[in-house]
């Protein structure tokens, strides 16, 4: 077949497809084309293959090529998840994701809680240990924050009058940002994540140890008890996700490094979603619950209960046949 009759025979189809593609609102597209799109698209592909094979003019081949390129994503796109997926994720998938890589989570927890508890203990024995990680100005700053005489514990004197909402914004931005960075820096062979985990452990341990040692323990612990279960464990999970990235690059197994990175990054992201959600919840608790002037015993009890709830969630949620 010569080019001219070929074009004449199929031009109407091409124009129809072009018009259909030009219309971005699905409701206003030609319903007939929508219904038969897969068949029409394959016909178009056949035309392109023919045009190439028969060495029709470059102009025509290019036009068909462009048309196929535009039509291709209409037929092939990855499934979008509906809203139900969120409920499923919270109730079953997230805790399962955590349990599935319990080794990484445990490693991340040790890298974080190890330095934290170690520093906390060390300062009880030698109070000057706090100056190995903080300088004098920083120490004075958090001494002021948790001074029992302060009206709003947990906030610097300059921030005493700040609204809870302001603090919420501050916590969301800072803490979630740290979590996301903990994950991303795992790409550098896991080293970034390793450093973030250890140093955050040391900082938090030093602050907690120093304040306890100098007798500000009650203001400090009653403030942090509420959000600690969510926030600290969210750091651990971000760390586990970051370590997974690093491990994919370091030890890809029988895959190429690129393939391993692709698989593991997508997999680790499933953990990051959950960790980000936990940071958000922690920020809510820290801004609106933690500063409330309630009896210490009560606040500590709520804090322990929340911590236990978080652990229980990861151990127990999403088990059983119904969730599967």
């Amino acid at each position: 077949m010569k080019q001219e009759p070929f074009v004449a025979a199929h031009e109407p189809l091409w124009q129809r497809l072009e018009a259909w593609l030009d219309e971005t609102d699905p409701a206003r597209r030609d319903p007939e084309v929508t219904e038969r799109f897969p068949a029409l698209y394959r016909q178009l592909c056949q035309h392109l293959a023919l045009a190439r094979e028969r060495l029709y003019s470059h102009h025509l081949v290019e036009r068909l090529d462009r048309l196929v390129l535009r039509a291709h994503p209409e037929l092939y796109r990855r499934q979008r998840r509906p809203w139900q997926a969120l409920a499923r994720y919270v109730l079953a998938d997230f805790p399962r994701q955590v349990r599935r890589r319990w080794k990484l989570v445990l490693l991340s927890a040790m890298l974080f809680y190890g330095p934290l508890l170690g520093m906390l203990g060390a300062i009880q024995i030698d109070p000057d240990m706090v100056y190995t990680v903080f300088d004098g100005e920083q120490v004075r700053m958090f001494e002021r924050m948790y001074d029992p005489a302060a009206r709003q514990p947990g906030r610097e004197p300059a921030r005493q009058a700040d609204s809870d909402l302001l603090m919420f914004g501050y916590y969301v931005r800072n803490n979630t940002g740290i979590g996301l960075r903990t994950f991303a820096s795992g790409l550098l062979f896991g080293i970034g994540t390793l450093l973030v985990l250890i140093f955050n452990g040391l900082y938090i341990g030093a602050a907690a140890g120093h304040l306890t040692q100098m007798g500000y323990g009650e203001t400090f612990w009653t403030f942090v008890a509420g959000h600690s279960g969510l926030e600290l464990n969210a750091i651990v999970l971000s760390g586990a996700a970051g370590l997974q990235l690093g491990l994919a690059v370091l030890a890809p197994g029988r895959r190429t490094r690129l393939r391993a990175l692709r698989d593991e990054a997508l997999d680790a992201l499933q953990l990051v979603y959950g960790a980000a959600g936990m940071f958000l919840l922690a920020a809510l608790v820290e801004a609106f619950w933690s500063p409330r002037p309630l009896p210490s015993e009560f606040k500590i009890a709520v804090g322990i209960a929340l911590f236990a709830l978080v652990i229980a969630y990861f151990l127990l949620a999403g088990r059983g046949r119904r969730a599967a």
Binding site: Q46, S57, H58, E62, H72, Y76, R78, A184, L266
Partner: protein, 236 residues
Amino acid sequence: MPGNPTPPPIDTLREIQTPEGIDLHLPVAGPLPRALAWLVDALIRIILYAIVGFVSAFLGRTGFGLFLVFLFLLEWFYPVVFEVLRQGQTPGKRAYGLRVLHDDGTPIGWNASLLRNLLRVVDFLPLFYTLGLLAMLLDRHFRRLGDLAAGSVVVHVNPNGRQPSPTRVRPLRPPFPLTLDEQQAIIDFADRVPHLTPERAAELASAAAPLVQGQADPVAALQGMARWLRGEEDGR
């Protein structure tokens, strides 16, 4: 060029095989247009900061809290939202005719877009996207680390916007059938004629001896054939 079935084209194209047995060619975008697009996005973000900062200033400390939340969202999710909901284009990418796709040519989704944008943190290291630029220069498809992990590529949206060179030469049918490669060479030559000295153009045209034998003006003859090959006789 797209439409060229011969093995590895000398161009930055990414080839994908579709289930229909057709090769798609994605024209991947290099560092420069992407950096410019990033700058445009950075400018837009600064303007957004300023506007929201200004409005929230009237709401006092509560407003500042909302501003911080907004800042967080803008810092991390500005590109993600645009890439997923606006056909792979942030405003900056749109301005430079760029688009993010999965590397198999499908539109980018939440997972891949989030990954490639979270990992910007690493691409940015140690200063101003140094690692990202290195990765792009080493990779055949200009992917930065985030793209490698997410399985995404940045492509030019409309690579075929080349204007046929305006000549008064009449379309001329080549004396014998030509392969696509040969057709392409002639069209490319015609496009380049305005940028060549007449002597160089004549020298190049004479290389196509079998085609232009007996033609008084080989250059004009080839330009005419280019017009014919482009199908300009049908008015397109």
